[in-house]
Amino acid sequence: MDTQEHVLRGESAPKDPLHREDIRERRMTNPLRLRSWNPYLVGVGIGVLSWIAFATAAHPIGVTTAFEHTAALIIGGLGAGWPSDGYFADHSPKIGWEWTLVMGVFLGSFLSARLGDDRTKTSVPRLWAIRFGESRAKRFAAAFLGAALMLFGARLASGCTSGHGISGNLQLALSSLVFTAAFGLVGIVTALWMYRRKGARHV
């Protein structure tokens, strides 16, 4: 079982057991190199971060506004002809706090993965491959479509798992509670349906 575990996790095989052992030793002593932090520790961290964001920038942490603004800037830059005059009358897209936040998330994750020696670099996740095969094109197309649907939905509701799910719920906003219930329910039903033939735990 042990020798197969890295395959199940979608990770490459450890090349040099002695070297890996050495890395593990170092991780024990330096928390920055500890690969995985407990979800409660991270939850407390993000909770405190949301409070810092409110106090310093009067902003709830959210990710998708930046995508909307980027798309709007591109579409606006393409010129007239797009049926979105009303959009530009109501909204003023800009490079703002949320935009640099998105850049920060990329880099923060990159640095964490580098320092933790934890870059995964997968194209087809293991759970996906077991159900839908190893085809990269299929996985990339599904990722693109799923993401487009997800972001469209987030903008209809003005928020996502961050903006509604965490930042909205922590303010006890009713809209966020309704959004969380709706996406949670549909997300679970969709996942159970997608992976239905692989119902066993720990695939």
């Binding site: 575990e5 939850g43 599904a142 798992t161």
Partner: protein, 184 residues
Amino acid sequence: MKRDGVGKLALGFATGLAFGWLLERSRACRHEAMAGQLRGDDSRVARLMITASAVGSVATLALHQAGRVELSPKPLRLGGVVGGGLLFGAGMSLLGHCPGTSLAAVGEGNVDAFFGVLGMLAGAGAFVVTHDRIEPLLRRGDFGAPTLPELTHAPAWPFTSLLAAAAVGSTRLERAAPPMPEVS
């Protein structure tokens, strides 16, 4: 092109750095964490979210009551919030990441998540382009932007306590659905 001041941009960047770091370390940005959460094999994402909400709630609402911060609850327009939630849930399941963790998954070097980020930009573009036509639908069932304390004319602390109790209660999920063993 409009932009915020440099100080505010730097603050956003610093906040993002910490957020990305935390998402990567929690491994919530792994496909199996999110897909596993939705199909009931893994409970890390739910435990992380409820803890973040509870901790954030205590501090933010305390600061709010002291008059130090303005809240910005999002509007409850049933058309947009429910319709958006349904599409969001289906798309998130298909992708296996949420918007924030997609970015973190790209930071980890995952190619499929990069196509996800491109898709997110396309979805945002679709919203901008169709905005004028769908706006009336989104506005159906407009209830303003109420919070639970405003709605019930009650103080915030009972609700915050409920969130905290849910975070503590979520430790039971850990036993029900332990994460897959870590491999180093």
